[in-house]
């Protein structure tokens, strides 16, 4: 009898523990928010060029200044798609196979803007999300366009906020899943640097 009641208690405790973990782990999901500071730019904001030139696009995603090949592979097609959609160039290639092409080098560097982000995340995990945390990731986008020996640079900054666990969202921002937020931020930066290069009349 003792054995049976003890076993039942153990099973019940294990079940409740599992339920608690499953419920609480739902609180540890990450939500991302794209900083609203960067202007929303699209194809209609691009200047119309009388004679667009071909371009070779070089893209690199960096993490704290070091090349991040996996992220480069993921983001590069999006950057190429935006450059193509902009209508600013007659032909686009990632290889040196276009006669008379300019070179558009775009580097996006992910820099952490929150101190001790790992420690904060660790604390959130330890408390099963009850102590939430907010992390701000910065992105510095540098676009360099070179043609006929003339080089023009454009630099802009962007940010993504991430809340983990029980933390209020940044005011007025819509939560997004991580992939959508990152893609939106990358697209926005590419559109903006293209617009700025177009306004400098160097394309």
């Amino acid at each position: 009898m003792f054995f049976h009641s003890s076993r039942a208690r153990t099973v019940r405790a294990a079940f409740l523990g599992l339920m608690a973990c499953a419920t609480l782990s739902g609180c540890i999901t990450a939500k991302m928010y794209v900083d609203p500071a960067l202007p929303k730019v699209g194809k209609t904001d691009m200047p119309v060029l009388p004679q667009p030139h071909p371009v070779q696009v070089l893209f690199e995603f960096q993490t704290k200044g070091n090349a991040n090949s996996r992220a480069t592979s993921e983001i590069e097609p999006r950057v190429i798609a935006v450059v193509s959609e902009s209508g600013l160039f007659s032909k686009i290639s990632t290889a040196a196979d276009l006669e008379g092409a300019g070179i558009l080098k775009i580097v996006i560097n992910n820099v952490p803007l929150t101190d001790n982000a790992v420690a904060k995340g660790f604390g959130t995990g330890l408390t099963f999300g009850l102590t939430g945390s907010l992390v701000k990731d910065g992105y510095v986008c540098t676009a360099t366009y070179t043609r006929d020996g003339k080089t023009t640079d454009v630099v802009l900054h962007h940010a993504i906020y991430t809340t983990i666990g029980n933390h209020a969202a940044p005011e007025g921002l819509t939560p997004m899943d991580p992939s959508s937020a990152v893609h939106l931020a990358m697209d926005q930066m590419t559109w903006n640097v293209l617009k700025q290069l177009g306004e400098k009349k160097v394309l």
Partner: protein, 216 residues
């Protein structure tokens, strides 16, 4: 008794499976050319090159590298890090329009050091390779180059291990950039280009009767 043994076997199996999963080999990420190297090559307009054979010294790990309890496996065509380096060179040259497999200029390489360390505070990768460049079989460049690449790591494996894997590619980028921008390499390629230009100018002078005092 039999039930307990079965449970124990199952538990042991799960432990082994979990342990092995923790030690799974991770492939080296696909190589991405360095934008800075590409830009430098595009500006320089060197001759095109072919990639010859790449190998590793006998004491150099050429198929896997330990990253804490995990293994980074080479992802080259032949499953070796020397093959990965060769493939990376081809990608760099192709991106800058400087690859030609029939070129008389050929680059061969030997990996001399191949180290990866996912430390608790700082991670590092040390790569050393000996590069030999020949033009129509004649050696024009013969040099060993080393790079030490460092990055912020973490005591947490979930952060440190992916960072080490990513940064191994960065170390390969740095090694190739060091080679392709090495002044001795540029000079070795340029000497011939200068000689070609000089002979082209000489033949022009012969045809036109130009005394050549404008050319130095």
């Amino acid at each position: 008794m039999a039930g307990a043994r079965f449970t124990l076997h199952r538990l042991a199996g799960l432990l082994v499976a979990g342990w092995l999963a923790g030690c799974a080999a991770m492939p080296t990420p696909s190589y991405q050319p360095s934008v800075d190297t590409t830009q430098l090559l595009l500006q320089r307009r060197d001759a095109s090159m072919a990639a010859g054979s790449f190998s590793a010294a006998s004491d150099v790990p050429n198929r896997t590298l330990a990253v804490r309890a995990n293994q980074l496996s080479a992802d080259g065509i032949d499953g070796t890090f020397s093959g990965y380096l060769r493939n990376a060179l081809i990608i760099e040259l192709k991106t800058a329009g400087r690859f030609d497999e029939d070129s008389p200029i050929r680059v061969d390489g030997t990996l001399l050091r191949n180290e990866l360390n996912a430390g608790a505070g700082t991670g590092s990768a040390t790569l050393e390779a000996h590069f030999t460049v020949t033009r129509r079989g004649a050696r024009i460049y013969d040099k060993s180059l080393t790079v030490v690449h460092k990055w912020d790591s973490s005591f947490m494996g979930a952060i440190a291990i992916p960072a080490a894997v990513q940064n191994y590619v960065g170390a390969v980028q740095k090694l190739l950039q060091k080679f392709l921008t090495d002044p001795d390499f540029v000079r070795a390629l340029g000497q011939r280009s200068a000689q070609s230009a000089q002979s082209a100018l000489s033949s022009t002078r012969i045809r036109t009767g130009d005394p050549g005092n404008l050319v130095r």
